[in-house]
């Protein structure tokens, strides 16, 4: 099923040549060093990166909370502020709690009233699982409940673009699972969703696309499966005595080979090919085990490299 993008969301989200530098105590901090990115309407994208990669600064610029030093942001063809004023954007920021002295329902209703085309308040409470605590005062909620109310505040505006900056930080495993279920339900309405996370499995499980950031730049961008394939090596372990690792390294799909006693460990870019070739040439190989490296390894591979821009950054 394809969702026809309404004219209102034409153009999706575009970031062009985005740069943002902050003054720090030890010289300037190059938070964002030139980002070009397009997100199509209806897409769910994950912005992945370690702390300090520039994710929150990028999000702040997309929401009009920060002005880029250079470059432009357009949200559905408009400047971020205009998109916000038109009620097209909803966001759950990284830090934040709730204001006190209102009930959950009152707070969500107060925010809904600010938007031109809000979701029904009861519906927002329903989908975020807040119905049972709708009458509770906001200062009496647990951390997990607070996050869910913040999420309800973000979606009650019925935004076309939903931005979530590390939304599950305060949640336990069960809370995370519930949160993403709700988020996917919202995305399924044809909404554009961008979420920042450093939980790699969250990006893997909940996004169509992963955008990896490190040191203020995008280091990889593609479907999560493609990202894994690009650097996501699989590890093949087998028991295979008296074969030189250099011979194994020459097998198809092998990137590197290593030996520990009788065990050989092959790092593979295409483990399917490798395992066929291995059994073909060395039928005595046994105890074969193939482990997917997952996004975690892909991520380390891409972001763990030395930052070649650091000397330049220090010099300025």
């Amino acid at each position: 099923m394809t969702v026809q993008a309404p004219a209102m969301t034409a153009g999706g989200i575009r970031l062009q040549g985005l740069v943002k530098t902050f003054g720090g105590q030890q010289g300037p901090i190059h938070a964002v060093r030139g980002i070009d990115l397009s997100i199509a309407a209806g897409e769910t994208a994950a912005l992945l990166g370690p702390n300090g990669a520039g994710k929150s600064t990028t999000i702040d610029m997309m929401l009009g909370l920060a002005k880029p030093d250079s470059g432009t942001v357009t949200v559905f063809g408009r400047p971020p502020r205009d998109a916000v004023n038109a009620g097209l954007t909803g966001a759950m920021l990284q830090t934040g709690s709730l204001i006190r002295d209102l009930s959950v329902r009152e707070l969500v209703a107060m925010m809904a009233a600010l938007y031109p085309d809000p979701m029904d308040v009861d519906e927002a409470l329903e989908v975020t699982g807040l119905k049972d605590i709708a009458k509770q005062r906001t200062q009496k909620l647990s951390g997990g409940q607070t996050q869910r109310v913040r999420f309800a505040v973000a979606i009650v505006s019925n935004p076309e673009l939903l931005v979530l900056d590390e939304p599950t930080v305060a949640l336990d495993v069960e809370g995370r699972r519930e949160f993403w279920t709700i988020m996917r339900g919202f995305a399924a309405r044809g909404k554009t969703v961008l979420f920042a996370t450093h939980y790699l499995e969250e990006a893997d499980a909940n996004a169509d696309r992963a955008i990896l950031m490190a040191h203020g730049r995008i280091v990889a961008d593609g479907p999560t499966t493609e990202i894994k394939a690009r650097v996501g090596l699989r590890t093949l372990r087998a028991t295979l005595a008296s074969v030189d690792p250099s011979i194994l390294a020459a097998l198809p799909g092998v990137v590197s080979a290593d030996r520990h006693g009788d065990a050989v460990i092959l790092s593979c870019s295409d483990s399917d090919q490798t395992v066929r070739a291995l059994l073909d040439r060395f039928p005595q190989a046994k105890d074969i085990e193939i482990v997917g490296a997952g996004l975690e390894a892909a991520f380390l591979e891409l972001t763990g490299e030395p930052d070649i821009d650091e000397p330049e950054a220090l010099a300025t």
Partner: protein, 243 residues
């Protein structure tokens, strides 16, 4: 889209927060009864006003100033909660945001004023209806600079320092503006007239002759309103970062 709904919930929040009741409402009324009741009908020298009338307006100015600057404490709390940033990514306009903040401040101030009027009347302050209205009008206008000051302080200071700052500022202003005892001559008299709080306290003269402020009063209040409003707008604009 309805920013009045936002204002309504802001009012609801304000009246539910009992922490602010003490300084804005309780403290001025208690002090009024302590100071004025023993000799409420006696005239205070050089003023022509009875103790009851004098301290009714004095403590009303104290309570209403506290109410208006109390807006600052609420804003500082919202900033710390990250709520100001949440509002900035909503279509709520700056104008509607300020309006809600100022109206909640005035709502608290008018409650404080009403309590002191009732207390004053109970201790024999008797004025024609028109003079009660004129006095209230001057106080409402005289509070404009403090409405702006509340927003300014709220966006400038964090929650830890907003309490002491408010308490200190209002105490000093109250002292210099003749809240606790009449200042009728000398340096303090000349200096005090440059303060917006001075004219707030001067609203008591309506009880004497129906005349509250001269031109100087209006100019002083207008100037402070302009300066502090510009300051509040500046503080709000620069305050976009994460706290």
């Amino acid at each position: 889209m309805n920013s009045l709904v936002y204002t309504r919930y802001e009012l609801l929040r304000t009246f539910r927060n009992r922490r602010f009741y003490f300084f804005s409402l309780g403290f001025p009324v208690i002090f009024f009864w302590l100071i004025a009741s023993p000799q409420h009908n006696k005239i205070i020298a050089d003023t022509g006003l009875t103790y009851a009338a004098y301290y009714m307006v004095s403590l009303a100015s104290f309570g209403t100033m506290m109410s208006m600057i109390g807006t600052g404490a609420r804003i500082a709390g919202e900033r710390q909660a990250g709520w100001t940033r949440q509002l900035r990514i909503s279509p709520l306009s700056t104008r509607a945001y300020f309006r809600a903040k100022v109206l909640t401040g005035y709502a608290m101030a008018l409650m404080s004023l009403l309590l002191l009027y009732v207390s004053g009347a109970l201790l024999g302050v008797s004025l024609p209806g028109g003079r009660w209205l004129a006095m209230t009008g001057l106080i409402v206008v005289g509070l404009l600079p403090f409405a702006a000051l509340g927003v300014l302080v709220g966006h400038l200071v964090n929650t830890d320092s907003v309490g002491p700052l408010m308490g200190g500022l209002v105490s000093i202003l109250a002292f210099l503006s003749g809240t606790w005892f009449p200042i009728t001559s000398g340096f303090l008299h000349s200096f005090g007239q440059f303060l917006p709080s001075w004219w707030l306290v001067q609203a008591r003269n309506v009880a004497l002759d129906g005349q509250g402020w001269d031109a100087r009063g209006w100019i002083t209040v207008a100037a402070w309103t302009a300066i502090l409003s510009a300051g509040a707008a500046w503080a709000y604009r620069r305050d976009t970062g994460r706290v």
